[in-house]
């Protein structure tokens, strides 16, 4: 017989613990691999523009997933070997050689890790396919084929490597630093938590709420006060609500100095908790963060989805496009012919001119981190349409004075507009026209994706129009097409793009007025920088081009498909985070409960010997375990919901739109589901621990 056989026997006897440990590792590897496969697949990469925010976000999420899985696996292995610590200690106490023991254990772990890595990697494919397949049921478009890039799996191998390394470190610490005296001493070692002042729980909740609001508002206030971009350290303010979470949990675990009478009722569960307080509190903090993180990711999708889906649906005219009057878009009858070829009919059409002028405004001037605002009479481009066109299009009657303008926005005024303009300028003659804001008008179809329309009187329109060349004029076209199809839309788009010159292929951040003004002042115009030049080389079919092209037409059917696909991708990216975070939270809570149960077996045995009924012991047990679940879940759910309420309230000047309310409602639904699953986990823990403590 040799030591490996001894280990084999120990493995056989403790198979359940080994399996749990391996499941945790496999889970981590599978999640990271599936996510990597998904994120780095060309299908997804196309949706996320290079250098764009969404790509950064997605990579950020991936990093979070990696870190989360890493932390989870490390936690699992630390826990696993903590349980094995006594075994290892006995072997050492009997004169085992530390380095030899270390080598044996590492070898055992290496074999397990490799097996887990392999199984995890293999599992990633069906996992990936499964979720993708589920989505394909809802969305069916040719772009939805999932392709995979195998090298992305190297990331999971890397993660597994790091986990292995950390496990080796843990083992090093356990085996080489183990004090044999601790092993042979009979007492249980626990970290006790001090008694807390009376109002700790209240302070905790106040810290969470106040700290949350403060850290959320701080960057804005900082910018107002110092006229400077907020420094990174301002994010440290988020430690305040975190400290609040810690205090609240601590209070929930240990309890404050209570009134004596009440104290007796909780005496047993509180005193048990007091002795395992430190570990339990740390554990619960992690659970809170995981549940909060999971909720945050889970909310992202419904919030953005409700906001976007409604604005596309609200448009009545299913084909909308604009083009410079210097271009010939669709020769006589070309569109009609196309439409007919695809079995569709144009039912209505409206074209009207748009003037491009300059507007005045406060320009943000940056100097390093500092910034200030300076008035500039010609700050940016403004798109103007005339009163009579609007009246004809909307069949309403208006009375606009020659020096007034109206902004056109959607029903809920989500589309931003500028109410502070005082001066329009003709960019060719530099003639100036003082104006003032008269209010806003609502019309879903006149809200354009990449620019805002402003309405002026016919008189002012004619004055500007008469002195402006075609260079500064566009035509805005609306079509209602019956029997529309995706094929028709893509064909029309293709023909539409063909009508443009290479210099028209600029992204929507490029402002002609700003470019000219910057050039005249002898400055570089930021949007003319080389990194933006590559935009013109994009294929018109790429999602990035379609999202940001300045003349991108709106074809309802294409737009719906496109958004659906984009959101499918976002959904996938986020659903992983949700799964990882929540499953980790539940697993950690579950294992914590089992640990608490095992550590306190003797308490329950003593209670039994003292004649406590099973019901009494069950009640004590439930009281204890519910703390582990209830507090983190409540804090996580409430805080994140409040955060979203705050964000949605603040994002458009202190109000909720209908879609935001709908989104929040969905979020509450999601929270209910998370709460329900957490409850199921709680019941499962109670059952497991009852079995361990042999309740009948």
């Amino acid at each position: 017989m040799n030591i490996n056989q001894i280990f084999y026997m120990l493995r056989r006897k403790n198979i359940a613990e080994y399996i749990l440990y391996m499941i945790c590792t496999i889970f981590s590897v599978a999640v990271v691999s599936a996510y990597a496969l998904l994120l780095f697949s060309p299908t997804v990469m196309e949706v996320l523009p290079v250098g764009g925010d969404s790509r950064k976000q997605a990579f950020g999420i991936f990093a979070v997933v990696c870190i989360g899985c890493l932390a989870f696996s490390m936690y699992a292995s630390a826990l696993f070997y903590k349980k094995k610590q006594k075994e290892l200690g006995i072997i050492l106490a009997l004169g085992g050689n530390r380095s030899k023991l270390y080598r044996t254990v590492v070898k055992e772990n290496l074999r397990m890790s490799l097996l887990c890595l392999l199984v995890g990697l293999l599992l990633a494919f069906p996992l990936n396919k499964g979720i993708w397949g589920a989505l394909s049921l809802f969305i069916d478009s040719p772009e939805m084929k999932l392709r995979v890039e195998l090298p992305s799996l190297l990331i999971s191998v890397g993660i597994a490597g790091i986990v292995l390394l950390s496990t080796m470190l843990i083992l090093r610490r356990i085996i080489f630093r183990m004090d044999l005296l601790d092993v042979i001493k009979a007492e249980h070692k626990n970290e006790m938590v001090r008694k807390l002042p009376k109002h700790t729980g209240l302070y905790g909740v106040i810290l969470i709420l106040a700290g949350g609001v403060i850290s959320y508002l701080a960057p804005g206030v900082y910018m107002d006060v110092f006229s400077e971009y907020p420094p990174a350290w301002l994010n440290l303010l988020y430690l305040i609500p975190l400290a609040g979470v810690y205090l609240t949990i601590l209070y929930a675990v240990v309890g404050g100095e209570k009134v004596e009478k009440k104290h007796y009722a909780d005496m047993i569960s509180k005193s048990i908790m007091k002795f395992q307080g430190r570990q339990t509190v740390n554990c619960m903090l992690v659970i809170t963060l995981l549940i909060g993180g999971g909720c945050f990711a889970a909310f992202y999708v419904p919030i953005t989805m409700t906001a976007f889906g409604t604005s596309v649906q609200a448009k009545e005219w299913n084909y909308q496009y604009s083009y410079p009057q210097t271009r010939d878009v669709f020769e006589e009858g070309q569109l009609e012919e196309l439409v007919k070829k695809y079995g569709a009919q144009i039912q209505e059409e409206k074209d009207f001119p748009v003037l491009l002028a300059a507007k005045d405004g406060m320009q943000e001037i940056e100097e390093g981190r500092k910034f200030h605002y300076e008035y500039h009479p010609r700050m940016a481009t403004v798109h103007l349409i005339k009163e009579s066109d609007f009246e004809e299009f909307t069949e309403t009657k208006l009375q606009i004075k020659p020096d007034e303008y109206y902004a056109i926005t959607d029903e809920e005024e989500i589309a931003r507009f500028d109410p502070d303009m005082t001066l329009f300028s003709n960019m060719e003659t530099r003639e100036e026209y003082p104006v003032k804001f008269a209010g806003c008008l609502h019309h879903e179809d006149l809200v354009l994706e990449n620019s805002r329309l402003y309405l002026i009187s016919d008189a002012l329109f004619e004055r500007i129009d008469s002195t402006l060349s075609q260079e500064w004029k566009e035509t805005l076209c609306y079509r209602k097409i019956a029997n529309d199809s995706y094929q028709l839309a893509t064909k029309v788009y293709e023909e539409f793009c063909r009508c443009f010159e290479p210099q028209d292929m600029v992204f929507c951040g490029y402002d002609r007025v700003s470019a000219i003004v910057a050039c005249e002042a002898g400055q570089e115009y930021w949007a003319a920088a080389p990194e933006f030049q590559s935009f013109s080389e994009l294929s018109p079919d790429s999602p990035e081009f379609q999202r940001e092209w300045i003349y991108m037409p709106f074809f309802k059917i294409m737009s719906l498909q496109g958004t659906l696909r984009n959101y499918a991708v976002y959904f996938m990216l986020f659903i992983y985070v949700v799964i990882v975070a929540l499953v980790s939270a539940w697993l950690i809570a579950y294992t914590r409960c089992v640990t608490i149960g095992m550590h306190n077996r003797y308490v329950f045995e003593a209670l039994e010997k003292l004649g406590a009924s099973t019901a009494f012991r069950q009640r004590e047990l439930r009281k204890q375990l519910s703390i582990v679940y209830k507090t983190p879940t409540c804090i996580g759910l409430v805080v994140v919901l409040l955060l979203f309420v705050l964000i949605l309230y603040g994002n458009d000047g202190g109000r909720f739109s209908k879609s935001e309310l709908l989104g929040l409602l969905i979020c509450v639904g999601i929270e209910a589901v998370i709460g329900a699953i957490t409850y199921v986990c709680y019941r499962a823990s109670v059952r497991k621990v009852s079995l361990l403590s042999s309740f009948h």
Binding site: N2, M9, R12, A93, L94, S99, I184
Partner: protein, 247 residues
């Protein structure tokens, strides 16, 4: 066999240092059964832990079979614990995942010596017979009684034929009947296997089976008492000896 000279040991609590062993000298001869007694906090466990090399000490020497043990390195210490010392702990310290037989065999496996391992199975059987635990050889620790567990621990301690058997309160966690069976195992080991035994105990009954008792008080040897040959007399003497300590 075992010789302790002028052993001093202090613990640091906060910034203060407390001297727990204040110059202890004692000797245990080959084949002798020595019990160490004394009030709680007198330093019995500390003394044993110094001898087992679980903790270090400031001054004095400990020699086992003519070798000074404080000059040994980590690896040699481990080897010495494995080959020359047998341990019996208060709470048994059996591996729950191994059967009784495999627990007993464990020290041989740890030694990695071919001869020891080859003879281990046979040896385990013999030890089990000696201590009357043959019938539970294939059971797991969770399935046997406390007294049986401790006898398994004694058998395990004797697996590699140690020079000395070190035990700290071996009967501390047992009722008197099980405790008796463990003491019987010690006596059996001494008589049949000529094992040298160094046992720390509270229990004057357990100590009365020894050849000699060393009474500790406040980290010093208070008195040494020889067994006059009759167990009950010796127990009475021990009780009187302990009673005469000023505490």
């Amino acid at each position: 066999m075992l010789k302790v000279e002028e052993l001093r040991k202090s613990y640091l609590v906060g910034k203060k240092s407390y001297e727990v062993l204040k110059g202890i000298s004692l000797e245990v001869k080959k084949g002798e059964f020595v019990a160490v007694m004394g009030p709680s906090g007198s330093g019995k466990s500390t003394l044993l832990n110094c001898i087992s090399c679980y903790i270090g000490y400031e001054a004095g020497t400990i020699t086992l079979d003519g070798h000074k043990i404080d000059t040994l390195g980590q690896e040699q210490l481990a080897a010495m614990r494995n080959r020359q010392m047998g341990f019996v702990f208060q709470d048994f310290m059996l591996l729950d995942g191994l059967t009784v037989k495999n627990n007993i065999v464990l020290p041989a496996v740890i030694s990695e010596e071919k001869e020891l391992i080859e003879a281990a199975e046979q040896k385990a059987k013999k030890l089990c017979e000696t201590f009357g635990i043959s019938h539970i050889m294939d059971k797991y620790p969770a399935e046997i009684s406390g007294g049986e567990k401790q006898r398994v621990a004694v058998a395990r301690a004797l697996m590699n034929d140690p020079l000395i058997l070190l035990a700290d309160e071996p009967t501390g966690n047992l009722d008197s009947k099980s405790g008796r069976s463990v003491i019987d195992a010690f006596v059996m080991a001494k008589e049949k296997l000529h094992t040298t035994i160094f046992m720390v105990t509270h229990d004057s009954f357990a100590a009365s089976f020894s050849d000699r008792a060393i009474l500790l008080q406040d980290g010093m040897v208070f008195r040494e008492m020889e067994n006059p040959g009759d167990r009950t007399t010796f127990q009475d003497e021990l009780l009187a000896g302990i009673g005469s300590m000023n505490r």
